[in-house]
Symmetry: C2
Subunit: 451 residues, 2 copies
Amino acid sequence: MDSKKLKEDLARDFNHIWHPATQMKDHETEPPLLIDKGEGVYLIDRKGNRYLDGISSWWVNIFGHNHPRLNAAVTRQLQEIAHVMFAGVTHQPAIDLAEKLVRNTPPNLNRVFFSDNGSTSIEIALKMSAQYWLEVGKPERKKFVHLKGAYHGETLGALSVCGIDLFRTKFQNILIDNIEVPGPDCDRCPYGLVPETCAAECFEPMEQILNENSDKVAGAIVEPLIQGAAGMKMYSSVYLRRLTDTCKVLDIHTIFDEVAVGFGRTGALFVCQEYGFEPTFLCLSKGLTSGYLPLAATMTEDKIYQAFYDEYDTFKLFLHSHSYTANPLACACANETLDMLTEDNFFVYLKEKSNWLKEGGKRLEMLEHCGEYRQIGMIGRVELMENKEKKTPYPFEKRLGYRIYLEGLKRGVLLRPLGNVIYFMPPLIISKSEIEFMTNTAYDCIHDILK
Amino acid sequence: MDSKKLKEDLARDFNHIWHPATQMKDHETEPPLLIDKGEGVYLIDRKGNRYLDGISSWWVNIFGHNHPRLNAAVTRQLQEIAHVMFAGVTHQPAIDLAEKLVRNTPPNLNRVFFSDNGSTSIEIALKMSAQYWLEVGKPERKKFVHLKGAYHGETLGALSVCGIDLFRTKFQNILIDNIEVPGPDCDRCPYGLVPETCAAECFEPMEQILNENSDKVAGAIVEPLIQGAAGMKMYSSVYLRRLTDTCKVLDIHTIFDEVAVGFGRTGALFVCQEYGFEPTFLCLSKGLTSGYLPLAATMTEDKIYQAFYDEYDTFKLFLHSHSYTANPLACACANETLDMLTEDNFFVYLKEKSNWLKEGGKRLEMLEHCGEYRQIGMIGRVELMENKEKKTPYPFEKRLGYRIYLEGLKRGVLLRPLGNVIYFMPPLIISKSEIEFMTNTAYDCIHDILK
């Protein structure tokens, strides 16, 4: 390792790069890790330090870094063609991928529209939904209902259905209006119930708003089971059942955003498929390429598709495109990802891992300031609380999450808490001993920072 | 070639894929090309037919398909790490790329924010601009001024600054309001002038609107020199000079969208750099990776950056992120692309190619229904007109462009006219004989379709 070069490279980064979701002034005292290499669940920096990637590089990585099968899939496709436009043209990787997605999602979803990232997959769902209502003669159906705490991306359309003030406040000026509804809050249930046995009593506000506004609502959008950016807030599938049932009665589109929870994270391939929901739209990205390349898909059903299907001169076509739509290299990665997820009893073994994670995660509850540990599949989380009995939150300004993040790095684990929520979302190929290392390190970091 | 497999694959495409910017009913009679391979300027379909990629696969490809240096760059990076999150982390490909971009763009642009596609690069510029005005205490500066005929992407924020009805009409319901201004129209100049000698008299409406609204305008956005989706409409740099000068006086941000025209298309690396403009924001994508992988950059200057740079608890940070921000594989492609564009007198040789293209393109003017052939760098265009003297346009419904596209495919050239505008935008590595084949084929197709 050349420490002069490391210093120079970090200076070049500091001088020219604006990192996402980062107060750049923090880099004055805490420069970013300079990651040179990946290997399984580990990231390796310029100095040779190894960090267990506890959050799958922003929730994208499924099979670890530098996976031989994924590398081979990219290399193979590269020798044919890296990219070709996707209007008037198709290619084998996209055809195979569309079919695999249709085969592994609910029966109503038989149509795939590709794009580049989670935000665009949402924008496409919103635009398809709005245009659908226009084509069927109900242009007044143009509002989208979303939950408090929702995160669906940060392009302005996607941001208009986000329910987290932090992301919205500075852009309120340039956002269109949608309808926010209080959602589940299982950490502090206002009904005093627990998600394992409740009947989603918290669905009532949503039910009321949908009923009152059904003539102007195009669709309702949710992150099924887990609100990610809100702090991995988990809620019951009963809520989703009530939502899909109500929307069906009122003829409101349901948009399932499985960008974060899809591709095995919850212990099943997709939430909608596991529980038998049939959303009108399903948005996918992140894990789709196992964290290799940007790619997204918006899936929908015949009823929607047919409203756009007509002679050209009716101008009913759906006008939305990105140059790199269905990029063949990314599709090749996605095909390999879906093969690996659907063969060799993957989900049977994953169940075992999920149990190991639960054992490790549950230990955190022994700490004085850790609330209840909750887990769905391979996503586990705990909230740090000033007073555990009264569930008093720590003030945001203490930046506890950030301090635990820095402490974790010193000990070789990349955690990136969301505010006061410590969560685990490792690559699904993580081993038992790696799970133990990750959860034990989190335990030690929380203990030492809060002592 | 297995014709049964071809038929099956096309059926699978038809059953499951929703292609972008496509009336899918057209596929009943004209199935898409099934492209298996690329080689230089050629796309090769399942039957072994070769098509000269006359529009660089939606304006992205710079060095042809299957380029050994680009393939090697991807393969090299793949062996290190395909992707890692970009918050709290950096990597060599992004550092190198940011520095190369800063070195090759106007001196004021020293800061790079990465994302995935042209639309997101625009969304980021709009959001940065709006938040800047908020942070400096002028929240009423929140509107963006764009030109009639402008295209800046199709996510809802980007679409809100588009000036093409075709793309907006169906989504008017869910778009925020911005300010549209009549722009240059050199094909039918209302002042009766020609772009080579005019003083951009058509800037007057823009000047007036900027002056009248300067207290509420955040920024003005343009596609420098060429409005792409509007039909490769070319206009004078004098317009841009007047725009940047006026915005400077009124303290209005300028957003240069060089997503389509950047990376050598106009005969220079970037329009802003060639003419010495210093836009507040520069948006790049498409050619950035030479058409291999989705990647984008929004560049800006210190004045903007500093308005966000402060202690964390001021919450001035710019909150916008995409999971695959600065994807290392895409950055590796981009680094190789910029190296190839800036070495070996690339632009000297390109000038010669540009002359060959002009020779070929000018021939089209000999056709009865072809208007004036115009060209900037390696982008050439001509409008088909029912009456050339009166410049009467053909009715849209005739789908002349589409018919010429289909005819071109039969003859081995992929043209994809924009309405009645036939244009050339080939990979920059195209040879003299390939240019001749492309322009001669266009000539023959137009001749035969319009006869």
